[in-house]
Amino acid sequence: MKNRAIRVLIAKPGLDGHDRGAKVIARALRDSGFEVVYTGLRQTPQMIAEAALQEDVDVVGLSILSGAHMTLVPVIREAMDAQELDDVPIIIGGIIPDDDHDRLKTFGVRGIFGPGTDTELIAKHIRGMMNPDREGTA
């Protein structure tokens, strides 16, 4: 039997305690057939990279509402690259000003979703990002 599920890490870096958005996304992705590794609040960049490594996820989803995205994302990218996860894309949910989008893309951010985004759109976006050949290329 061939099983293939897209695995997504949903993590909330930084210190703000608002995880409702992350939970809504986790649940919506579950309902769209994804396997969601949910790590919860207050994750350090190292914790996120380690979880992404061990869980072999296809994409890392970050929920950032604190405004600290320009600080957090580069450090998380660096921690992921240190684990040889440079081919794993990041998506972000939260309040991210348009002016920051281009800069974030240079850190491998492949999707940015503001408040009120239709969750089906996010699911579709992630599916579209997947390289069908990803497996077996360790």
Partner: protein, 339 residues
């Protein structure tokens, strides 16, 4: 590609290990060869299954258990199984939330797994994942799963020591008789022992254990409802293992959590299995069950291959229309495949 993945795992690459586990889960082509190459390197880890109803604190206990093993300088791999939604096929794998203490420790490897579709598929994936982690050199492999059904029970039984976790306030002693999972416990834990009602839970579980006949547990291993009778080479006296009842407070500081007692109980069980030669006996039994499982899966796949594409669907329609009953429909399928 397969060779490099194999080398990576044996040389301690976490990326290669994670990818091989993905391939095992997805039953990717070529994974059987990698597993075959790893097989001779397995058999060193001690494997521990942890099960129990949702909310009993399994993940927190596994976290505490792993920390205690790390204090003994043993490396630990954890396979945490969470259920797949039967509607969407998706899953939320949330066991890592309770295991954040273990992050940053390279001697610990945590992998979450969803139950996905098929019962046979999950048993296979977990068994093979345990082998991969064993071959990668982890001293202890802990498998955690929700004890909510036969499939989960089967998975936990692929391990060498099975821990069943209970907590106060989940039901009276009649629930304890009902719950078949009590019978599979090598070690019984009452977690959240600081909660009200813990002493009642302790009392009723103790009573239940005394009612059971402990010696019978090692002789038969029920599997998918099928009982496999095995001759027990050891004498009755040697096979008598009474599951110890350990009280824990998994989120308390190490010295008052009861986790050291739990570790000791696991070690005692291991020693008991070794001394009584039951370890060998149980391993034979696990292999036997695995071969049956794999055979069942292979035969099913072979059968499906041999059938003309519409055989099943046309019989579904006939049964729906009451033209044929399900038993004769299956007979018909077997006849078609014989031709």
């Amino acid at each position: 590609m397969t060779a490099s993945l194999l080398d990576g795992v044996l040389n301690g690459s976490k990326r290669a290990l994670a990818r091989l586990l993905t391939n095992v889960e997805n039953d990717r082509e070529g994974v059987a060869d990698t597993l075959a190459a790893l097989f001779k390197k397995t058999g060193k880890a001690w494997t521990i299954g942890v099960t129990g109803a949702p909310g009993t604190g399994k993940s927190t206990l596994v976290n505490a258990l792993a920390k205690a093993y790390r204090a003994q300088d043993k490396t630990v791999a954890i396979v945490a199984v969470d259920p797949t939604s039967p509607y969407s096929g998706g899953a939320i794998l949330g066991d890592r939330i309770r295991m954040r203490d273990l992050s940053g420790d390279t001697g610990v490897f945590i992998r979450s797994m969803a139950t996905r579709g098929s019962l046979g598929g999950l048993s296979r994936a977990v068994r093979d994942a345990i082998r991969v982690l064993d071959a990668a050199g982890f001293d202890r492999v802990i498998v955690e799963t929700v004890g909510a059904g036969q499939s989960e029970v089967d998975i936990v039984r692929t391990t060498q020591t099975t821990i069943v976790v209970e907590a106060p306030g989940l039901g009276d002693d009649v629930q304890a008789i009902k719950a078949g999972i009590l019978e599979i416990a090598d070690v019984l834990v009452i977690n959240k022992a600081d909660r009200p009602g813990a002493s009642n839970t302790l009392r009723s579980l103790k009573a239940m254990l005394e009612l059971g006949h402990p010696a019978s547990r090692t002789q038969l291993l029920a599997h998918h409802g099928q009982m496999l009778a095995v001759e027990n080479p050891a004498s009755q006296q040697e096979t008598l293992w009474l599951p110890p009842l350990i009280q824990t407070i998994a989120n308390a500081p190490a010295h008052e959590s009861g986790v050291d007692e739990l570790i000791k109980a696991i070690d005692d069980h291991r020693q008991f299995l070794m001394d009584s030669h039951l370890a060998e006996h149980m391993e034979h039994q696990r292999v036997r069950i695995e071969l049956y499982d794999l055979l069942r899966e292979a035969l099913m796949a072979q059968l499906m291959e041999s059938l003309p594409g519409n055989t099943i669907e046309s019989l579904v329609q006939q049964v729906y229309e009451r033209d044929i009953d399900p038993h004769h429909a299956v007979e018909k399928i077997l006849q078609v495949s014989d031709q």
